[in-house]
């Protein structure tokens, strides 16, 4: 079982991100379950959504309390919501930001984490560029596909294409692809730095 938690604010497509991730996993023949944290979904309010992926039917419906991966769509939540609850040092962490972990004030927290599983992606900027709106969810899914390798970029873009139509679909697919390539480039740079 691989468990993902997505944190963001109402209007940023947090719930849709978890749903799309579940569809991407389903497209790869896996069992998946996505569900929101069931708040009254007001724009700007903290929102959490969950996604579980497994090779077997998923029965448990508790919230994801020990995530294998956390995706943070809005860094203003870092010191408001217990976004890291249950995340272990071998977990994946993907943050939507143009700043580094130290600058975000969580450098100390992630010090023991595996460096190759931590990344910031400028998802809002990529969304502005490709979708025309600051909706970072699709970009983060593309980045997550590259960071975790748990779903392919192709499955993510297929899921986006099934959910949206026309320009919205094309823009979000472009944003996801750009984020995927951004993460791949970062990983390459990290490998080179280590090799050097």
């Amino acid at each position: 079982m691989f468990e993902v938690r997505v944190h963001g604010r109402g209007g940023q497509g947090v719930v849709t991100a978890a749903e799309l991730l579940s569809v991407a996993a389903f497209l790869e023949g896996r069992h998946a379950q996505a569900f929101p944290s069931f708040g009254s979904e007001r724009t700007g309010a903290p929102v959490v959504a969950f996604c579980r992926i497994d090779d077997h039917a998923i029965r448990s419906r508790e919230p994801v309390v020990r995530p294998d991966a956390v995706i943070i769509q809005d860094v203003t939540l870092l010191h408001q919501v217990h976004v890291f609850e249950g995340l272990r040092p071998e977990g994946y962490l993907l943050v939507n930001s143009t700043r580094g972990f130290d600058e975000l004030g969580i450098g100390e927290f992630v010090r023991d984490f595996r460096r190759d599983r931590l990344l910031v992606v400028p998802a809002t900027e990529l969304a502005r560029q490709h979708v025309g709106r600051p909706v970072p969810n699709a970009a983060l899914l593309g980045g997550f596909a590259a960071l975790s390798g748990r779903v392919s970029l192709e499955s993510v873009t297929t899921a986006i294409g099934q959910r949206f139509a026309g320009r919205v679909a094309a823009g979000n697919i472009a944003a996801a692809t750009a984020a995927y390539e951004f993460v791949r480039a970062e990983q390459e740079e990290m490998r080179n730095a280590q090799a050097g």
């Binding site: 579940s22 998946a32 996505a34 569900f35 029965r59 309390v65 408001q80 609850e85």
Partner: protein, 415 residues
Amino acid sequence: MLRQVEGSRAVADAVALCRPEVVCAYPISPQTHIVEALAAHVKSGRLSPCEFVTVESEFAAMSVAIGASAVGARAYTATASQGLLYMAEAVYNASGLGLPIVMTVANRAIGAPINIWNDHSDSMSQRDSGWIQLYAETNQEAADLHVQAFRIAEELSLPVMVCMDGFILTHAWEQVDTPSQEEVDAFLPAYEPRQVLDPADPVSIGAMVGPEAFTEVRYLAHARQMQALELIPDVASRFAEAFGRNSGGLVHPYRTDDAETIVIALGSVLGTIKDTVDEMRRDGVRMGVLGITSFRPFPLDAVRTAVGEARHVVVLEKALAVGIGGIVTANVRMAVTPERVSTVIAGLGGRAITKASLHRMLADAIAGRLEPLTFLDLNHELIGNELARMAAGRRSGPMAENLLRDLGAVASRIG
């Protein structure tokens, strides 16, 4: 076709395949996505002939369903929470008149305090309304139960409530196999009403009945629910033959054969309980789970058989009868020796029921430490603070607001 789909959408698609001729609804969370999807099916012509009636209230929704059913139309509606309470008078009329309406209840708490999250307070409040009540464990079962519900309702001339956990199921995306129109048509015969309002052959439906026959009308309603105890498993087995999967029936026993302790519950929490029980089984604990799918009629014999010789029964329920305790428990105690049964109230107003909490509670149960009535994960400090305020002075103020102020940040916790 197997799809990764939202529960509400899967249910709407299953209902559409049942060809309802009238769908009436008033929006209320967490039911809204279901009727929105049905409205789209009607608009697109995929569900035709069907009239989608947007009404001004839940009372009107059930009243329209009653009228539609009385003229021989297959009628469907959906609601939740306060909406179900608002239609309560008409809910009793539908069953009292013997009209086979199918209604989804997307289970949600009842206020005050206002709360949009899941528990079973709403449908439990209507448990004695004369409707059949079926509770879904998964979205696949929720979809399948609707197909079975129309067949059960129409064969018995009784309305059926399909209860599915609000948000936890309605808003969850998981894989659901949706059958083809041909398969559902073959399973669900056309509605042949026992009574119909027809200008060409006039009758009245809904006579005033005095003491001379009221008991007999009620007896016949009960007798039909007793018939349902036979029909519900029969329809489930025919469904399994036609569609190749087990959904519905009276109860779902899981690892109960040699169990010394059995957990009884309804709805989507069964999955989390089964995972917990599997983990405890690995440690050698002989524990089982009994899901009750049909709460009305209540399957006394099936519960008694499944519980068997188990020493301890833990009923985990998502509703509270204030002033006495467990509602499901009261029913279970008619099936098994009452002393064996403990009540655990859990998941009220959407509080997450976690495996960690279940492990702690079930360890207490095995050790004989479980109280007859337990509130899972009760925050004693929060209660203590309020009791202290109430003891300190008369004007302690509004309770809900006081508790929220004590808690501080809202929505900061995960589980």
